[in-house]
Amino acid sequence: MERERVYLPVLSRVAVCGGTHGNELSGVHVVRERLKEKQQRVDDEEDEDVVSVSNILTNPRAVQQCRRYTETDLNRCFTRATLSSAVSDRTPYEISRSQELNILLGPKGSPQAVDLVCDLHNTTANMGVCVIAYSDTDWICLHIFKYLQHHMSDVPVRYIHFDLPCREAYSLDSLGKHGFALEIGPQPHGVVRSNVYTYMKTGVELMLDWVRLFNSGTVFAGGLVEVYTMVSAIDYPRERHTHNIMAAIHPELQDKDFCLLRPNDPLFETFSGATLRYQGPEPMYAFFINECAYYEKGIALSLARRRSVEVPPVQMKSGLEHPGDPGTSEEEEEED
């Protein structure tokens, strides 16, 4: 028996963000290209839409230097504490920038915040296309994910849930009423791979197609989706004094993101050739395997549990709904 339809407010304002990490180049170029295309439409006077989309390079200084960040990781600067901290001329650039972005796209948690933030990221891990969000009950994010997964059939598309309450959410996408990161790999930092760029551009366009359909009253059918909920992370074995890593991700695990890691499976290979094995009590799904930027955060790989979530049918709240409206039809059919 299908779940009852959920009515959700229109998504009037969407922000597409790139360059939050300045060396994750697909997002940088997608945003630049979208800004160019938008200017072209303005020039051609073709700029009407059922949604207002802002395309933003969020960390221009890091983009200019082609570095992840200049002083501190911008994508950890969106906690309520950081957003409300006092600034001086000694405040790291990224903290000032997070507060500017909060004014531009937020304020976080307020009715003025943009409806949806899509933050574009790349990873050196072989993760395919991932939608990463703080919630497994945000039906907007889950429906967008379902739509992307349906329409992007030549690449795996997965949903990763970081189970953190709002007040602890630290990333840029938490500024909007709804938000998610679109994380695509593998791509080395500082490189743009054409296939990865194309997946990202397509993903953004599909997301906006969904938003336009939603804003036009389309009913989206519900269904079951698989969600990977992040549980823990494992660091590299390190030398006590230098803190240098003493092993690499095992060749049998390298590039196997979303494989099921069972107790005793190979995890690392030391430089003298010994295999170190997974000692956890339960099998878990491994992801962010060998992400470059996580060496300094003490993460060699992350672990998740997987489960199915039942996503209800959704429709934009128009204010005209009555109890007992007809049940949902297939996606993209208009309501009578």
Binding site: G190, V191, S194, Q254, E269, C292, Y295
Partner: protein, 313 residues
């Protein structure tokens, strides 16, 4: 093409292995740190003093390619002869120090062989980089390595055109050998890449040991890819790239690229074809560090070099 001449060289007694010339190329950093902190049996050979060395420690500390300027372009005559001083860019100071320890470049006191360990984001496999087509010692070494790892391949990249070659850290030695292994993202250590580099180095050191023991290596030929031209990305008037390496070319290092083949793809999806005079063999395709050097890939042409027989003096 064989020759009756046997080229004689002194024993290679002093050998250095450089890691961290680019601080974010992790295989070399890891291998050299390993050997500097633990026993060096793996790299020891009879009669050879093998010195592992981190050439750019500040860049390694920051996990960045360089601090002020690219160390692997810094060994110019001008830099090496500049008056010493703390005002010099960090890497120029390092170049002078390295030249003092392992050179002086061009002198008889210089180290016999330097292996410089590098990684690339390009799909180049295990590439050996040669700076002179007339270094018969190096050619024989490369022939030895290629045979030792067959059927796996080990392309040899020859970069000796004065307009295209650059003043590398390893150039202070009498015989300079670049090891370039990829694909590996900067800042990442991949186990398979690490092991591949280790194996190449093992064979190279075995060759040196055999040579020093008096083995004569008969004449041979070595197929090489000779650097021909640098190709930049198409750019706009602000210098930003407006296209990417085409999906058909991405990861196709060492495969022929013929006129008309797709080369770049613009951000709005158009294909830009290669329009050279004939077929070339591209490499260093989409190397992260070369965006700022205005290089999307280099073209090479295949050549066969002849090496004389060699033995020690």
């Amino acid at each position: 093409m064989s020759s009756n001449n046997v080229a004689s060289f002194n024993e290679a007694r002093r050998v250095a292995i450089f890691g961290g010339t680019h601080g974010n190329e992790m295989s070399g950093v890891t291998l050299v740190n390993l050997w500097m902190m633990n026993s060096r049996e793996e790299i020891q050979r009879k009669g050879v003093e093998t010195q592992p060395f981190i050439t750019n420690p500040k860049a390694v500390e920051k996990c960045s390619r360089y601090v002020d300027t690219d160390l692997n372009r810094a060994f110019t005559t001008e830099n090496l002869s500049a008056p010493h001083g703390k005002d010099l860019p960090y890497e120029v100071q390092r170049a002078q120090e390295i030249n003092r320890l392992f050179g002086p470049k061009g002198s008889s006191e210089a180290y016999d062989v330097i292996f410089d360990l590098h990684n690339t984001t390009s799909n180049m496999g295990c590439t050996l980089i040669l700076e002179s087509s007339k270094d018969h010692f190096n050619l024989q070494m490369m022939n030895y390595i290629k045979k030792a790892i067959a059927p796996d391949s080990c392309p040899v990249l020859l970069n000796e055109d004065p307009g295209l070659k650059y003043a590398t850290a390893r150039s202070v030695a009498k015989h300079s050998v670049g090891l370039e292994v990829g694909p590996q993202p900067q800042g990442v250590l991949r186990s398979n890449i690490f092991e591949a580099m280790r194996i190449i180095l093992k064979h190279a050191l075995d060759f040196i040991e055999l040579f020093n023991e008096g083995v004569e290596f008969p004449p041979c030929t070595v197929d090489v890819f000779k650097v021909s031209e640098r190709m930049d990305y198409p750019r706009d008037s602000n210098g930003n790239i407006i296209a990417m390496v085409h999906p058909n070319l991405q990861d196709c290092d060492w495969e022929p690229l013929t006129p008309g083949d797709p080369m770049f793809q613009t951000f709005d999806g158009k294909t830009i074809p290669y329009e050279g005079a004939g077929a070339v063999y591209p490499t260093f395709i989409n190397e992260a560090a070369y965006y700022e050097k205005q290089q999307a890939f280099v073209t090479t042409r295949r050549e066969t070099l002849a090496a004389n027989a060699i033995r020690k003096v």
